[in-house]
């Protein structure tokens, strides 16, 4: 059995494990599969059944095996303290992995799960619900339920259960919303493990929904500039919920330029209209952004035409990249809610886009020039061919003419 994982097993105790000898023959919940626990991170560190369950793993007789110190089945109420008996013990953890944190249990007690459990609620999440029991893997292992790519699916097991959530008067749409978001797409589709998942914003052991005032703090860890600009703007005092006011919390979609302005569905239109100055500024920002984007696409199309005709547009490529950067910067500055600041970025961008456009136009002009210049040798060759024909005719004219 151990041959399956020969090398990793080298460190594990090869002593008789009488627990497994019996329990592998049992059915249902009492059935223990050997590979599971030996392959787990605990198994690799030399621990076995008795570490958590107590008892004696070296004797066959049941009464002796289940003798002194046997804890039997660990109930849900006992799980956290049992895990914490090692994992919250700094001295003990140091002998296994000094860089592992030991505050998980303490944090847990501050979390909603922990508080409820301390009040006696047995349905909330305990250690084993997220980490597993016998088959616990390190979080860097892609098979672990708490690997960043798997966290959301693990949380969803309870939090998408409508009935369960209703009893706590909680929504159960968070996972569904999150799976439509740009953050989920970054992780699940693009494989970007740095993208946020449930635990990034809510915490893992100390899981709480961030208070409405602190949502922005969470977002600003990555979206530094947007948060900074927002804080400088008039909207900061108006909206204590910050980012979530316009962008939502779970179903955060990638905003496009229509998110700004007064059109139906735009965020600004929720409060402003064409009758007030800010509303008009919002619409102006929208118009400037879409106009610049159109300018960039036109230039891009022109560059593609030139490239397809075999002309070199490398210079224009760099300028295009700079123009796109300027557009991104302008969009970020939308959070200032200030038209002049957005326009400042756009004017830099426009100058660069115009340069790219001119480079592409010059390339196309050169192409046309080459096509016209082609007429020179072709005309000369045509003249030669005609003269050849005439000369041959002359040469072969019969003397009687």
């Amino acid at each position: 059995m151990c041959l399956v994982m020969l090398v990793p097993c080298a460190l594990a105790e090869q002593a008789r494990n009488s627990c497994v000898d019996c329990h592998s023959k049992l059915e249902g919940n009492l059935r223990v599969v050997v590979d599971q626990s030996l392959a787990s991170v605990h198994g690799h560190k030399g621990m076995s059944c008795t570490t958590c369950h107590g008892g004696n793993g070296e004797v066959e007789a049941k009464d002796k095996a289940h003798g002194a110190g046997f804890r039997g089945r660990i109930s849900r109420a006992q799980v956290t303290e049992l895990c914490g008996s090692c994992h919250a013990d700094g001295e003990r953890m140091k002998t296994f992995n000094p860089s592992l944190r030991t505050d998980q249990l303490a944090l847990y007690h501050t979390s909603v799960h922990g508080k409820k459990r301390d009040q006696g609620d047995e349905r909330v999440a305990v250690c084993t619900d997220c980490h597993g029991a016998h088959d616990i893997l390190p979080i860097s292992d892609p098979r672990s339920p708490v690997h960043p790519a798997n966290v959301a699916s693990t949380c969803k097991q309870c939090h998408s259960d409508g009935g369960l959530m209703k009893s706590y008067r909680l929504a159960s749409t968070q996972y569904a919303d999150f799976s439509e978001s740009v953050h989920h797409e970054a992780m699940a589709v693009r494989g970007d493990l740095s993208a946020p998942t449930c635990s990034t914003c809510h915490g893992s052991h100390g899981a709480v929904p961030p208070g409405s005032a602190s949502v922005a703090n969470v977002c600003s860890t990555c979206h530094v500039l947007q948060a900074q600009f927002f804080n400088e703007s008039v909207h900061k005092d108006a909206f204590p919920e910050g980012c979530a006011t316009c962008h939502g919390s779970h179903k955060i979609k990638h905003p496009d330029d229509n998110f700004v302005g007064l059109a139906k569905g735009a965020a600004c239109a929720e409060c402003h209209s064409a009758d007030d100055d800010p509303g008009q500024a919002a619409q102006a920002i929208h118009d400037r952004l879409t106009q610049f984007e159109a300018q960039i696409s036109d230039t891009r199309a022109l560059m593609d035409r030139a490239a397809n005709a075999g002309m070199d547009v490398a210079d224009a490529e760099l300028e295009m990249a700079q123009a796109k950067d300027a557009l991104t910067k302008a969009r970020v500055r939308v959070h200032t809610a200030s038209l002049p600041r957005v326009e400042a970025e756009l004017s830099t961008g426009k100058m660069v886009a115009i340069k790219a456009h001119n480079t592409a136009e010059e390339a196309l002009r050169e192409r046309n020039r080459r096509r016209k210049e082609l007429l020179i040798p072709v005309t000369a060759f045509l003249a030669v061919v005609i003269s050849l024909g005439a000369y041959i005719r002359e040469l072969e004219r019969k003397p009687s003419d």
Partner: protein
């Protein structure tokens, strides 16, 4: 005597040029309804000349190392005055030369001009075709772009499938186990030194053989002339035939330059050995027929590897084609028509496989 005549006499007194040139002065070309096909050989030669000239020009700026090849071609195309023109002419003229070589060969085959005594001319010609394909294969890699890199990878892998010697041949071609800078150096040496030397040698023999035996006349015309000798027509090579050839050459040059201006060759992206092959990699059109054939052969035929059988088939086919004059002797005078049918079948097969290869993904 005017100046030209004096120079001529001066040279003639020392080098006996008159004696050497007189056979050329007398050289004639038969004139009949199929005479136009005679221009193809000279056209191929002319295009080869263009390749030599544009090739030497490209050599002045090209850097044959993996780190610099692509950039040097980029330099030629974008920065050197008329570099784009030289490069695109070289690329288009290569394609046209291969096409003319095939056309010349097939017109000779259909006219059965390989008959006695012209067997050696035929053999040297087929060898020249293989050399031209070698030029195409080796030159294609030199810009070191993605397409060329993977086309070379696939092409050399096919060679590696041969039994016994295949792997050794592949390593020899690649200069190592994989396509790398070593392959580029090797192909460069092949393309600018080894192949030109071989080609010029064999080309001279081919031309001398043509000079010795003159242009072959199709059997039907020959018979007609035997019966009606007054119908026999000939033309002096110099100046009459040659002036006509010049028309063809100028027209071809105009076409090549127009193609270079309207359909310039692309640079592509620089080859990256570590990135996966882009989908739909195909060889150049003159290898498409073989490529498509290999794709269509089932993986196994009677427990033998299909691709291997395909390659061996090509080898046998090439050998048979080379020995076409002897095959004719083998099948006997009565079955000659079948040889012609066979040739037409080969032409149709190659054409349709090429088209299929072009349209398939």
């Amino acid at each position: 005597m005017n100046a030209t005549a004096r120079v001529q006499t001066w040279i003639d007194e020392r080098l006996n040029l008159e004696e050497a040139l007189s056979p050329l002065r007398e050289k004639t070309v038969p004139v009949h309804r199929h005479s136009t096909w005679y221009f193809l050989g000279g056209l191929t030669l002319f295009l080869f000349g263009i390749q030599l000239l544009t090739g030497v020009l490209l050599l002045l700026y090209y850097h044959p190392s993996a780190g610099e090849a692509y950039e040097s071609v980029q330099n030629i195309t974008n920065r050197v005055q008329f570099g784009w023109l030289v490069r695109s002419i070289h690329s288009w003229s290569a394609n046209l030369m291969v096409f003319c070589a095939f056309a010349h060969m097939f017109s000779v085959a259909l006219a059965r001009a390989y008959r006695k005594p012209r067997e050696l001319t035929w053999i040297s010609g087929v060898i020249l075709l293989f050399l031209v394909l070698g030029f195409g294969f080796s030159g294609y890699l030199l810009p070191w772009n993605t397409r060329a890199f993977f086309a070379t990878k696939v092409g050399t892998e096919v060679a590696g499938q041969l039994p016994v010697l295949g792997h050794a041949i592949m390593v020899f071609m690649r200069g190592g186990e994989d396509v790398s800078g070593a392959t580029l150096t090797r192909f460069f040496g092949l393309h600018i030194a080894i192949l030109p030397a071989l080609t010029i040698g064999i080309l001279i023999s081919h031309l001398m053989l043509v000079q010795k035996f003159g242009a072959s006349v199709p059997e039907s015309v020959e018979k007609d002339w035997e019966k009606h000798p007054e119908r026999k027509k000939e033309m002096l090579f110099f100046p009459n035939f040659f002036l006509r050839e010049l028309i063809g050459w100028y027209a071809a040059l105009a076409v090549v330059i127009a193609l270079a201006v309207f359909l310039p060759s692309e640079l592509g992206t620089k080859a990256d050995p570590f990135s996966p092959a882009p989908p739909g990699i195909k060889p150049e059109w003159y290898f498409l027929a073989q490529f498509q054939t290999l794709k269509l052969i089932p993986a196994h035929i009677l427990s033998l590897d299909g691709e291997l059988l395909g390659i061996l088939g090509f080898g046998l086919g090439g050998a048979a084609w080379l020995g076409l004059p002897f095959i004719e002797d083998f099948v006997g005078a009565r079955r000659v028509r079948w040889v012609k049918v066979g040739i037409i079948f080969v032409m149709i097969y190659l054409a349709s496989m090429s088209v299929l290869g072009y349209v398939s993904r």
